[in-house]
């Protein structure tokens, strides 16, 4: 019963870790798809639009997308529950300089996560919602022209900046999150723990710069400086 109620602090962290790692996996797939935007314009348009059509029509992808929505919501709600408990248990100092003992991003995952949540609302509204629920013109192959939607979204420099800054918030979130999740699941052997540390750093850099370069590239190639 206590397992179902998630009374244990370790169980709650397991949920954070599993949903977090699924989101990490999703980011890789998402980035690989988005890298098509870096192709020359005509090829990029055709390739990106047919890829989007392929994903939205596939039943397997539909199931995965529901796991994705669940992971996002569970990750955020669990984080909130954990944070509320931690606020209650934490000691409060009159003079506090304990920050020197750890990295700031490891202590502020909640703030980074909240920024990412705000980013996701904007991101879903501008692409996911538009693609799914609004009428989008079709390209020459008869696929919805999501490529055009993406290109025009990055016409304004401040929107590009919003994306780039959000990707840095994501980067710091991953820098701590990936390693922390694997730790939570119990990888304790020093050899594998060291590998996970290095892999987590490379992964975080790859995801951050991979995603951040796309809006910059699109803006510069289509709208100049």
């Amino acid at each position: 019963m206590s397992v179902l109620l998630m009374e244990s602090t370790l169980l709650r962290k397991n949920l954070m870790a599993l949903t977090g790692l699924f989101l990490c996996f999703f980011l890789v797939i998402h980035l690989l798809g988005n890298l098509q935007l870096l192709l020359p314009a005509t090829r990029a348009s055709e390739s990106f639009n047919s890829y989007s059509a392929l994903l939205s029509g596939n039943i397997f992808i539909k199931v995965v997308s529901y796991i994705l929505y669940f992971s996002l919501i569970a990750h955020a709600v669990d984080a909130l529950v954990i944070t509320i408990k931690n606020k209650k248990t934490a000691g409060k100092y009159a003079y506090d300089k304990r920050g020197s003992a750890s990295k700031w991003y490891s202590r502020n995952m909640g703030i980074l996560g909240s920024l990412l949540l705000i980013f996701l609302v904007i991101h879903f509204k501008d692409f996911w919602y538009v693609y799914k629920f609004q009428s989008v013109p079709v390209d020459s192959n008869g696929n919805k022209d999501l490529y055009a939607v993406v290109i025009y979204a990055f016409a304004s420099w401040w929107y590009v900046l919003l994306y780039v800054l959000s990707m840095f918030a994501l980067g710091y979130h991953l820098l701590h999150g990936f390693k922390s999740a694997v730790r939570t699941l119990g990888v304790y052997h020093p050899k594998y723990a060291a590998f996970v540390n290095s892999f987590g750093i490379i992964y975080s850099y790859a995801i951050t710069f991979g995603f951040a370069i796309i809006p910059i590239y699109v803006h510069l190639t289509h709208f100049g400086l």
Binding site: T9, L10, G91, K97, A101, R107, T184, Y188
Partner: protein, 247 residues
């Protein structure tokens, strides 16, 4: 040297505490931090004031009794020390030093710098032992263990239960202490027998005492006087998840 102290004074858990200013002159740089407070206390007693209460015992860095937050950092400016091993030469002449007790919801304050860390004892009582028949000691080599494994278990067993991990943690999590005690026994054959039962009971007790979640910030390892590794926490998670599935 001369120091300006701002020490947390509080009569008991129910009263309101505050930082009180004390100036102390002719402090020897070779004094330990605790000896500096002893000197202050002698002066307070001569003046008829109530001395500052603080925990201490061996003053050799191995008992885990002395514990306070100095200038906002657990056990003071040098990482990996107990307060008794901290010396006044680490401070500048004429500096202001803030001294506060360890703060955590699960460590209720008793008086001044003294907190009740018996939550740790109850976590140990929940499962930090092995059940073995007493009587004649058996021949040591009947249970074989590799030297590396024995050393690894000893690294975990080195935890002195001082509570610095809890006090430096932003969530006041007891994960490092509890995990060190769990993995110390999980690493030796004698402890494996009850490993699953032990981890479930000790984690349940840790949660019941009102410690927070582990956020893997690793501040605990950075400030631990014994340098206990955070990989103990990962092993606790592993043992816990295994026990959940298998037991």
């Amino acid at each position: 040297m001369k120091v300006h102290l701002k020490i947390w004074r509080q009569k008991d858990a129910a009263s309101k505490g505050r930082l009180v200013d004390y100036d102390l002159d002719q402090v020897d740089t070779h004094m330990s931090f605790l000896e500096m407070i002893d000197t202050l206390n002698e002066k307070l007693v001569l003046k008829g004031e109530v001395p500052v209460e603080f925990d201490h015992d061996c003053r050799e860095g191995i008992c885990g009794m002395c514990a306070m937050t100095i200038n906002g950092e657990v056990n003071g400016p040098v990482a990996g020390l107990t307060v008794c091993q901290l010396h006044m030469r680490e401070f500048k002449d004429n500096s202001t030093i803030y001294i506060e007790p360890f703060r955590a919801n699960a460590f209720p304050l008793k008086r001044d710098l003294k907190v009740d860390r018996s939550a740790f004892d109850r976590i140990i009582q929940a499962g930090g032992y092995i059940s073995a028949s007493t009587g004649q000691p058996t021949e040591a080599n009947t249970i074989l263990i590799s030297h590396d494994q024995a050393e690894s278990a000893f690294d975990s067993a080195a935890c002195i239960g001082c509570g610095a991990c809890v006090a430096t943690c932003k969530n006041s999590s007891a994960a490092l202490f509890t995990s060190a005690k769990i993995s110390h026994l999980a690493k030796v054959p004698q402890g494996r027998e009850e490993a699953q039962k032990r981890v479930l009971k000790m984690v349940a007790q840790m949660d019941a005492e009102g410690f927070g979640h582990c956020s893997n910030t690793e501040a605990c390892e950075a400030r631990c006087p014994q340098g206990i590794s955070v990989l103990n926490i990962a092993q606790m998670n592993w043992e816990y998840n295994k026990a959940l599935v298998l037991r």
